[in-house]
Amino acid sequence: MNRKTITGIVLLGLLAVLPPIFIATGNAFYVDLTTRLVILAIAATSLNLVLGYGGLVSFGHAAFVGIGAYAVGIPAYHGIYGGGELIASFNGFYHIALAVILSALFALITGAICLRTKGVYFIMITMAFAQMVYYLFISLETYGADDGLVIDLRSELPLVNLDKPLQMYYFAFVSLLAALLIVRTIVRSRFGMVLQGAKGNPERMVTLGYNIYLYRLAAYVISGAMAGYAGALLGNFTTFISPDMMDWHRSGELMFMIILGGAATTLGPLMGSAAFIVVEEILSHYTVYWHLPFGLMLIAIVLFARGGVMGIITGKDKS
């Protein structure tokens, strides 16, 4: 095991035990921080499937997160609990299913169009479609337009009560573990090998007889669905949703988390999210102008350390 994997596993271990300690020591604020970290890590992990392993630079992942959050917020606003006796008492199933299905659907439709294009076209088009969703929700007066929407009631699930911060946290943490496992399984499977082959050399994969368009589309849909799930968690966590969640800056931040932690590695997105949240927390503590050093740091990382922050730690350059 290399140093990077060990760092990642230590981080996972810390995340498993720290929140109760935060509460016991009267630092409940840090539970909020770690919850946000974990949810963002799920979104970043989902993006890593297409960006890191698929080589598809999707600049619109915040849209899936937003769709997932609104899939919780809008039914909650209308008091809709979904049909069926069994699930009626737990609207959470309904909310989460809606979040996953809608974002998967959005990924299917936009992905079918975006993936016909390559390179810089793909970057810009994913960005544009995300902006479309952003403007769509801004135009919806009923759901608060650009002021956003407050969710009065969190989703109800059996066994966990999302109103309790610690239960919310562990629900997100277990979800993160599941997301990590899912992505890891997928990339090691035959499907994952094709996806990674198409990243390294699409021409070769086509010559071998793979219709790479379909493999990429499938990965894009899976990734979108997972990001939508993260959005449903985020909506439940913040109990406030607004189009700002889908602003393209959010997509850019998700991308940066992956690059920070190392793309195409299982734990990279998690480490990147942690680095991102910690740096953001420290810098914004000192100055309201924290975006300035933050932006400079981002530029410096791209210019000087291609292997990401982890490349600096392990002393190895990816190139």
Partner: protein, 248 residues
């Protein structure tokens, strides 16, 4: 012998330049058919149209009695046409064995299989290893592809073509950039393949071509000026004038 690949009236121009000019060609089942011609004669353009990477302007391509003129590249590969690239085209950040295993895996129909780790599937890895062994690269199986030499990359291209089981192999300058020893090794290896597969070979190395080919077609400015056995081509005056005379 029946023809496996049949090209009729194929044309392709870029801007005003005719890269493929009314090409008619039959590749017989089991033969090694070399296509030679000076630089810029349109050899790679022709292969790209046969493999589906480029659409022809007019004309038709039949493979095994089936019209594949408009079939997508991945579809042709599934039907049994494989190609190697003039400029080595491998998945550089994967291991040598992974590259071959992807070619083996491609024969399984589809790869929408999400659960089992691909590297633990013994039949895939074993078959890939056999092909690597055939080209003498078995000991490099686990090396990252990027670490191999140019000559080894050329051999990997061949192993991939082998793994595909495709009845028709199109090899685009497999000897390009190889030293004399490596070239000789490649020629020996291609000889062992003769008769087992139908091969379309594009090559600049005339010694290799005349040693290997059953028939040769000469392509000049996108047009086939002659097709025949090596002896016929050698004595063809048009070829001598247009092409061989220019060679040193």
């Amino acid at each position: 012998m029946s023809s496996l690949l049949s090209i009729t009236g194929l044309n392709k121009s870029f801007g005003g330049i005719k890269a493929t000019d009314d090409v008619n060609l039959d590749v017989l089942e089991g033969e090694l058919h070399a296509i030679i011609g000076p630089n810029g004669a349109g050899k790679t353009t022709l292969i790209s149209q046969l493999s589906g990477a480029l659409p022809p302007d007019t004309g038709s391509i039949m493979f095994n009695g089936q019209d594949i003129t408009r079939a997508p590249a991945y579809g042709r590969a599934k039907l049994g046409i494989t190609r190697s690239f003039q400029i080595t085209s491998l998945v550089k950040d994967m291991s040598v064995l992974d590259n071959i295993a992807l070619a083996v895996q491609a024969k399984q129909g589809h790869s929408f299989r999400f659960l089992k780790p691909a590297r633990s599937i013994a039949p895939l890895r074993d078959e890939a290893l056999t092909h690597l062994d055939a080209v003498g690269l078995a000991d490099r199986a686990d090396a990252p592809t990027v670490n191999l030499s140019h000559g080894e990359h050329r051999l990997m291209e061949i192993a991939i073509a082998l793994a595909s089981d495709a009845p028709l192999m199109m090899l685009d300058e497999p000897m390009a950039g190889l030293g004399p020893d490596e070239s000789a090794r490649m020629v020996t290896f291609l000889k062992t393949l003769k008769g087992k597969r139908t091969i379309v070979l594009i090559e600049h190395d005339m010694d290799a071509v005349f040693a290997l080919a059953d028939r040769i077609s000469v392509l000049v400015y996108g047009h086939i000026i002659a097709t025949g056995t090596p002896a016929e081509i050698r004595s063809n005056s048009a070829v001598r004038q247009a092409y061989l005379g220019e060679e040193d």
